[in-house]
Protein backbone atom coordinates (compact mmCIF):
# COMPACT_ATOMS: atom_id res chain seq x y z
CA UNK A 1 0.00 0.00 0.00
CA UNK A 2 1.37 3.42 -0.97
CA UNK A 3 1.30 6.20 1.64
CA UNK A 4 1.62 9.45 -0.33
CA UNK A 5 2.35 11.78 2.60
CA UNK A 6 5.60 10.02 3.60
CA UNK A 7 6.18 8.58 0.09
CA UNK A 8 6.53 5.03 1.44
CA UNK A 9 5.27 1.58 0.47
CA UNK A 10 4.29 -0.52 3.53
CA UNK A 11 2.08 -3.58 3.92
CA UNK A 12 -1.06 -2.62 5.91
CA UNK A 13 -0.95 -6.06 7.55
CA UNK A 14 2.56 -5.33 8.85
CA UNK A 15 1.36 -2.01 10.30
CA UNK A 16 -1.70 -3.61 11.89
CA UNK A 17 0.43 -6.35 13.52
CA UNK A 18 2.94 -3.81 14.87
CA UNK A 19 0.00 -1.76 16.17
CA UNK A 20 -1.47 -4.86 17.80
CA UNK A 21 1.78 -5.67 19.66
CA UNK A 22 2.25 -2.08 20.82
CA UNK A 23 -1.42 -1.99 21.81
CA UNK A 24 -0.97 -4.96 24.15
CA UNK A 25 2.10 -3.35 25.78
CA UNK A 26 0.37 0.02 26.05
CA UNK A 27 -2.82 -1.39 27.54
CA UNK A 28 -0.93 -3.48 30.08
CA UNK A 29 1.90 -1.14 31.10
CA UNK A 30 0.61 2.32 30.17
CA UNK A 31 3.53 3.05 27.85
CA UNK A 32 3.47 4.55 24.36
CA UNK A 33 5.65 1.83 22.81
CA UNK A 34 7.75 4.23 20.72
CA UNK A 35 10.83 2.04 21.24
CA UNK A 36 9.12 -0.56 19.01
CA UNK A 37 7.09 1.65 16.66
CA UNK A 38 10.00 3.94 15.69
CA UNK A 39 12.40 1.12 14.65
CA UNK A 40 9.50 -0.81 13.04
CA UNK A 41 8.66 2.15 10.80
CA UNK A 42 12.33 2.83 10.09
CA UNK A 43 12.76 -0.81 9.03
CA UNK A 44 10.15 -0.19 6.30
CA UNK A 45 12.09 2.79 4.97
CA UNK A 46 10.04 5.57 6.58
CA UNK A 47 12.18 8.67 7.18
CA UNK A 48 13.20 9.28 10.79
CA UNK A 49 11.20 12.52 11.15
CA UNK A 50 8.04 10.80 9.85
CA UNK A 51 8.67 7.77 12.12
CA UNK A 52 8.76 10.04 15.20
CA UNK A 53 5.73 12.18 14.29
CA UNK A 54 3.59 9.30 12.99
CA UNK A 55 4.41 7.24 16.08
CA UNK A 56 3.08 10.07 18.27
CA UNK A 57 -0.18 10.17 16.28
CA UNK A 58 -0.54 6.41 16.62
CA UNK A 59 0.11 6.70 20.39
CA UNK A 60 -2.86 9.09 20.66
CA UNK A 61 -5.24 6.58 19.03
CA UNK A 62 -3.98 3.59 20.99
CA UNK A 63 -4.11 5.50 24.28
CA UNK A 64 -7.73 6.55 23.64
CA UNK A 65 -8.75 2.89 23.25
CA UNK A 66 -6.72 1.66 26.25
CA UNK A 67 -7.70 4.59 28.51
CA UNK A 68 -11.39 4.10 27.66
CA UNK A 69 -11.11 0.44 28.65
CA UNK A 70 -9.16 1.30 31.83
CA UNK A 71 -11.78 3.91 32.71
CA UNK A 72 -14.49 1.26 32.44
CA UNK A 73 -12.41 -0.83 34.86
CA UNK A 74 -12.12 2.14 37.28
CA UNK A 75 -8.39 2.61 36.65
CA UNK A 76 -8.29 6.29 35.61
CA UNK A 77 -7.85 9.29 37.93
CA UNK A 78 -9.03 12.14 35.65
CA UNK A 79 -8.06 14.91 38.07
CA UNK A 80 -4.49 13.62 38.40
CA UNK A 81 -4.23 13.09 34.63
CA UNK A 82 -5.27 16.66 33.86
CA UNK A 83 -2.85 18.11 36.45
CA UNK A 84 -0.01 16.00 35.10
CA UNK A 85 -0.68 17.05 31.51
CA UNK A 86 0.26 20.64 32.44
CA UNK A 87 3.68 19.60 33.77
CA UNK A 88 4.28 17.15 30.93
CA UNK A 89 3.70 19.70 28.18
CA UNK A 90 5.98 22.23 29.93
CA UNK A 91 8.65 19.55 30.43
CA UNK A 92 8.41 18.37 26.81
CA UNK A 93 9.02 21.90 25.56
CA UNK A 94 12.09 22.27 27.84
CA UNK A 95 13.38 18.84 26.69
CA UNK A 96 13.05 19.91 23.05
CA UNK A 97 14.90 23.19 23.82
CA UNK A 98 17.67 21.19 25.54
CA UNK A 99 18.06 19.15 22.37
CA UNK A 100 18.38 22.37 20.34
CA UNK A 101 21.14 23.62 22.72
CA UNK A 102 23.01 20.31 22.43
CA UNK A 103 22.61 20.42 18.64
CA UNK A 104 24.37 23.78 18.61
CA UNK A 105 27.27 22.40 20.71
CA UNK A 106 27.46 19.33 18.46
CA UNK A 107 27.16 16.73 21.26
CA UNK A 108 23.53 15.82 20.89
CA UNK A 109 23.80 12.14 19.87
CA UNK A 110 26.44 11.22 22.44
CA UNK A 111 24.81 13.02 25.39
CA UNK A 112 21.28 11.76 24.62
CA UNK A 113 22.57 8.19 24.19
CA UNK A 114 24.50 8.15 27.48
CA UNK A 115 21.66 9.80 29.44
CA UNK A 116 19.07 7.41 28.01
CA UNK A 117 21.15 4.29 28.76
CA UNK A 118 21.73 5.48 32.34
CA UNK A 119 18.03 6.28 32.84
CA UNK A 120 16.74 3.03 31.31
CA UNK A 121 19.15 0.80 33.26
CA UNK A 122 18.51 2.67 36.54
CA UNK A 123 14.72 2.32 36.21
CA UNK A 124 14.94 -1.39 35.41
CA UNK A 125 17.40 -2.10 38.24
CA UNK A 126 15.31 -0.21 40.77
CA UNK A 127 12.09 -1.90 39.69
CA UNK A 128 13.63 -5.38 39.82
CA UNK A 129 14.84 -4.70 43.36
CA UNK A 130 11.57 -3.17 44.55
CA UNK A 131 9.09 -5.58 42.99
CA UNK A 132 11.06 -8.68 43.97
CA UNK A 133 11.39 -7.41 47.55
CA UNK A 134 7.65 -6.66 47.68
CA UNK A 135 6.73 -10.08 46.27
CA UNK A 136 9.06 -11.78 48.77
CA UNK A 137 7.44 -9.85 51.65
CA UNK A 138 3.99 -10.74 50.37
CA UNK A 139 4.61 -14.49 50.26
CA UNK A 140 4.95 -14.48 54.06
CA UNK A 141 1.70 -12.57 54.59
CA UNK A 142 -1.88 -13.61 54.10
CA UNK A 143 -3.27 -11.94 50.97
CA UNK A 144 -6.59 -10.30 51.52
CA UNK A 145 -7.08 -7.99 48.57
CA UNK A 146 -6.90 -10.45 45.66
CA UNK A 147 -5.30 -9.79 42.29
CA UNK A 148 -5.31 -6.01 42.64
CA UNK A 149 -3.28 -5.98 45.89
CA UNK A 150 -0.63 -3.28 45.64
CA UNK A 151 2.07 -3.24 48.28
CA UNK A 152 5.44 -1.57 47.68
CA UNK A 153 8.80 -2.02 49.40
CA UNK A 154 9.40 1.70 48.71
CA UNK A 155 6.27 2.81 50.56
CA UNK A 156 8.13 4.41 53.50
CA UNK A 157 9.79 6.92 51.12
CA UNK A 158 6.50 7.53 49.26
CA UNK A 159 4.77 8.30 52.59
CA UNK A 160 7.48 10.79 53.51
CA UNK A 161 6.97 12.55 50.16
CA UNK A 162 3.20 12.61 50.70
CA UNK A 163 3.70 14.19 54.15
CA UNK A 164 5.49 17.23 52.68
CA UNK A 165 3.13 20.17 53.28
CA UNK A 166 3.87 22.44 50.32
CA UNK A 167 0.70 24.45 49.58
CA UNK A 168 -1.50 23.99 47.65
CA UNK A 169 -2.31 20.43 48.69
CA UNK A 170 -4.38 18.35 46.28
CA UNK A 171 -6.78 15.61 47.30
CA UNK A 172 -7.11 12.77 44.79
CA UNK A 173 -10.11 10.73 46.00
CA UNK A 174 -9.92 8.16 43.18
CA UNK A 175 -6.30 7.31 43.99
CA UNK A 176 -6.81 7.78 47.74
CA UNK A 177 -3.89 10.21 47.96
CA UNK A 178 -3.41 13.74 49.36
CA UNK A 179 -0.24 15.35 48.05
CA UNK A 180 1.32 18.72 47.20
CA UNK A 181 0.48 20.03 43.73
CA UNK A 182 4.16 20.93 43.30
CA UNK A 183 5.21 17.30 43.60
CA UNK A 184 2.70 16.29 40.90
CA UNK A 185 3.97 19.09 38.66
CA UNK A 186 7.64 18.17 39.27
CA UNK A 187 7.02 14.46 38.53
CA UNK A 188 5.09 15.22 35.33
CA UNK A 189 7.60 17.91 34.31
CA UNK A 190 10.48 15.40 34.60
CA UNK A 191 8.45 12.86 32.57
CA UNK A 192 7.81 15.52 29.92
CA UNK A 193 11.46 16.60 29.96
CA UNK A 194 12.57 13.06 29.14
CA UNK A 195 9.82 12.80 26.53
CA UNK A 196 11.11 15.91 24.76
CA UNK A 197 14.74 14.96 25.31
CA UNK A 198 14.69 11.23 24.48
CA UNK A 199 11.55 11.08 22.30
CA UNK A 200 8.40 8.99 22.69
CA UNK A 201 5.83 9.32 25.44
CA UNK A 202 8.26 8.55 28.34
CA UNK A 203 5.72 6.25 29.99
CA UNK A 204 8.70 4.16 31.17
CA UNK A 205 9.56 7.05 33.51
CA UNK A 206 6.12 8.45 34.33
CA UNK A 207 4.39 5.20 35.27
CA UNK A 208 7.06 4.16 37.84
CA UNK A 209 7.26 7.76 39.15
CA UNK A 210 3.52 7.80 39.75
CA UNK A 211 3.77 4.58 41.75
CA UNK A 212 6.93 5.29 43.75
CA UNK A 213 6.87 9.07 44.18
CA UNK A 214 3.17 9.97 44.20
CA UNK A 215 2.03 6.67 45.76
CA UNK A 216 -0.64 5.94 43.11
CA UNK A 217 -1.71 2.25 42.97
CA UNK A 218 -0.15 0.50 39.94
CA UNK A 219 -3.44 -0.19 38.11
CA UNK A 220 -4.47 3.46 38.47
CA UNK A 221 -0.99 4.63 37.43
CA UNK A 222 -1.26 2.61 34.20
CA UNK A 223 -4.75 3.92 33.35
CA UNK A 224 -4.04 7.53 34.36
CA UNK A 225 -0.75 7.55 32.47
CA UNK A 226 -2.63 6.49 29.33
CA UNK A 227 -5.18 9.27 29.82
CA UNK A 228 -2.39 11.78 30.34
CA UNK A 229 -0.59 10.49 27.22
CA UNK A 230 -3.69 11.31 25.12
CA UNK A 231 -3.29 15.00 26.01
CA UNK A 232 0.50 15.26 25.76
CA UNK A 233 0.81 13.07 22.61
CA UNK A 234 -2.00 15.09 20.92
CA UNK A 235 0.01 18.23 21.57
CA UNK A 236 3.14 16.51 20.18
CA UNK A 237 1.21 15.25 17.14
CA UNK A 238 -0.07 18.75 16.38
CA UNK A 239 3.37 20.37 16.53
CA UNK A 240 4.96 17.58 14.47
CA UNK A 241 2.11 17.68 11.91
CA UNK A 242 2.60 21.43 11.45
CA UNK A 243 6.31 20.75 10.76
CA UNK A 244 5.35 18.10 8.16
CA UNK A 245 6.43 15.03 10.19
CA UNK A 246 3.14 13.10 10.44
CA UNK A 247 1.71 10.57 7.97
CA UNK A 248 -1.72 10.19 9.51
CA UNK A 249 -2.69 7.41 7.06
CA UNK A 250 0.04 5.14 8.48
CA UNK A 251 -1.09 5.96 12.03
CA UNK A 252 -4.73 5.18 11.17
CA UNK A 253 -3.78 1.76 9.76
CA UNK A 254 -1.56 0.95 12.78
CA UNK A 255 -4.39 1.93 15.06
CA UNK A 256 -6.71 -0.75 13.63
CA UNK A 257 -4.44 -3.42 15.18
CA UNK A 258 -3.80 -1.38 18.31
CA UNK A 259 -7.54 -1.14 19.05
CA UNK A 260 -7.71 -4.88 19.72
CA UNK A 261 -4.27 -5.13 21.37
CA UNK A 262 -4.91 -2.25 23.77
CA UNK A 263 -8.12 -3.84 24.99
CA UNK A 264 -6.44 -7.19 25.58
CA UNK A 265 -3.63 -5.44 27.48
CA UNK A 266 -6.01 -3.36 29.60
CA UNK A 267 -8.23 -6.31 30.50
CA UNK A 268 -5.15 -8.43 31.35
CA UNK A 269 -4.13 -6.00 34.14
CA UNK A 270 -7.14 -7.27 36.09
CA UNK A 271 -5.46 -10.65 36.51
CA UNK A 272 -2.15 -9.41 37.94
CA UNK A 273 -1.21 -7.78 41.24
CA UNK A 274 0.68 -4.43 41.18
CA UNK A 275 4.16 -5.82 42.02
CA UNK A 276 3.85 -8.45 39.26
CA UNK A 277 2.93 -5.78 36.69
CA UNK A 278 5.95 -3.75 37.85
CA UNK A 279 8.26 -6.79 37.60
CA UNK A 280 6.98 -7.56 34.08
CA UNK A 281 7.64 -3.90 33.18
CA UNK A 282 11.41 -4.32 33.80
CA UNK A 283 12.43 -5.56 30.29
CA UNK A 284 10.85 -2.54 28.52
CA UNK A 285 13.44 0.11 29.53
CA UNK A 286 16.18 -2.51 28.95
CA UNK A 287 14.95 -2.99 25.36
CA UNK A 288 15.19 0.81 24.98
CA UNK A 289 18.78 0.72 26.35
CA UNK A 290 19.71 -2.15 24.00
CA UNK A 291 18.43 -0.17 20.98
CA UNK A 292 20.50 2.88 21.99
CA UNK A 293 23.64 0.77 22.55
CA UNK A 294 23.12 -0.89 19.14
CA UNK A 295 22.83 2.53 17.50
CA UNK A 296 25.99 3.77 19.27
CA UNK A 297 28.05 0.71 18.36
CA UNK A 298 26.94 0.25 14.74
CA UNK A 299 26.13 3.84 13.82
CA UNK A 300 22.80 2.69 12.31
CA UNK A 301 19.76 4.39 13.75
CA UNK A 302 16.99 1.83 14.32
Amino acid sequence: MFFPISHSHISPLYLAIIGFLIGILGGFFGVGGSFIAGPALRAMGVDWNFAVGTDLAHIVGKSVVAAKRHRALGNVDLKLGLLMAVGTIGGAECGAQLIQILKRTGNVNFVVSIVSIAVYVSISSFMIWESRKTLRNQTGKKRTSGNKSDESAFKHVTRRIQRLRLAPMVHLPVSGVRISLWIIIIVSFIGGLFSGFLGGGAGYIRMPSMVYVLGIPTHLAVGTDLFEIIISASYGTFTHAVKGNVDILIALVMNTGAAIGAQIGAISTQYFAGPKIRLAFVPLPLIGAAIVIYTMVTGHKL
Partner: protein, 80 residues
Protein backbone atom coordinates in the same frame (compact mmCIF):
# COMPACT_ATOMS: atom_id res chain seq x y z
CA UNK B 1 -13.11 -23.26 34.24
CA UNK B 2 -11.67 -24.93 31.12
CA UNK B 3 -15.03 -24.55 29.38
CA UNK B 4 -15.06 -20.83 30.22
CA UNK B 5 -11.55 -20.36 28.83
CA UNK B 6 -12.41 -22.25 25.63
CA UNK B 7 -15.53 -20.11 25.20
CA UNK B 8 -13.55 -16.89 25.72
CA UNK B 9 -10.86 -17.95 23.23
CA UNK B 10 -13.50 -18.98 20.67
CA UNK B 11 -15.36 -15.67 21.12
CA UNK B 12 -12.12 -13.77 20.71
CA UNK B 13 -11.20 -15.64 17.52
CA UNK B 14 -14.64 -15.06 16.00
CA UNK B 15 -14.33 -11.39 16.94
CA UNK B 16 -10.91 -11.23 15.33
CA UNK B 17 -12.21 -12.69 12.03
CA UNK B 18 -15.20 -10.30 11.86
CA UNK B 19 -12.99 -7.40 12.87
CA UNK B 20 -10.40 -8.30 10.19
CA UNK B 21 -13.10 -8.30 7.48
CA UNK B 22 -14.35 -4.89 8.66
CA UNK B 23 -10.82 -3.48 8.79
CA UNK B 24 -9.94 -4.72 5.27
CA UNK B 25 -13.10 -3.03 3.97
CA UNK B 26 -12.05 0.09 5.87
CA UNK B 27 -8.57 0.07 4.28
CA UNK B 28 -9.88 -0.13 0.74
CA UNK B 29 -12.86 2.20 1.01
CA UNK B 30 -12.16 4.94 3.53
CA UNK B 31 -8.36 5.26 3.29
CA UNK B 32 -8.46 5.08 -0.52
CA UNK B 33 -10.81 8.08 -0.66
CA UNK B 34 -9.16 9.96 2.22
CA UNK B 35 -5.60 9.52 0.90
CA UNK B 36 -5.66 12.14 -1.85
CA UNK B 37 -7.57 14.67 0.22
CA UNK B 38 -5.23 14.35 3.21
CA UNK B 39 -2.16 14.55 0.97
CA UNK B 40 -3.39 17.85 -0.51
CA UNK B 41 -4.22 19.16 2.94
CA UNK B 42 -0.73 18.24 4.21
CA UNK B 43 0.91 19.99 1.27
CA UNK B 44 -1.09 23.24 1.34
CA UNK B 45 -2.82 23.71 4.72
CA UNK B 46 -0.57 22.38 7.48
CA UNK B 47 -2.56 23.73 10.46
CA UNK B 48 -5.84 22.34 9.12
CA UNK B 49 -4.05 19.04 8.43
CA UNK B 50 -2.68 18.92 12.00
CA UNK B 51 -6.14 19.48 13.51
CA UNK B 52 -7.78 17.02 11.12
CA UNK B 53 -5.11 14.39 11.89
CA UNK B 54 -5.86 14.54 15.63
CA UNK B 55 -9.63 14.47 15.08
CA UNK B 56 -9.30 11.49 12.73
CA UNK B 57 -7.09 9.41 15.01
CA UNK B 58 -9.24 10.10 18.11
CA UNK B 59 -12.49 9.58 16.17
CA UNK B 60 -11.25 6.30 14.70
CA UNK B 61 -10.09 5.09 18.13
CA UNK B 62 -13.49 5.80 19.70
CA UNK B 63 -15.33 4.06 16.84
CA UNK B 64 -12.98 1.04 16.89
CA UNK B 65 -13.28 0.70 20.67
CA UNK B 66 -17.07 0.74 20.37
CA UNK B 67 -17.03 -1.74 17.47
CA UNK B 68 -14.77 -4.24 19.28
CA UNK B 69 -16.73 -3.92 22.54
CA UNK B 70 -20.02 -4.42 20.67
CA UNK B 71 -18.66 -7.42 18.77
CA UNK B 72 -17.39 -8.99 21.98
CA UNK B 73 -20.75 -8.46 23.73
CA UNK B 74 -22.63 -9.84 20.73
CA UNK B 75 -20.43 -12.93 20.31
CA UNK B 76 -20.18 -13.71 24.03
CA UNK B 77 -23.93 -13.30 24.33
CA UNK B 78 -24.47 -15.91 21.65
CA UNK B 79 -21.90 -18.41 22.87
CA UNK B 80 -23.15 -18.36 26.46
Amino acid sequence: MKRDTAQTVRAFLVELVIYAVLVIGYFFLVLHFLGGWLYNLEQHHRYTYAGTAILLIIGQAVVLENVTSMLLRLIRGRTE
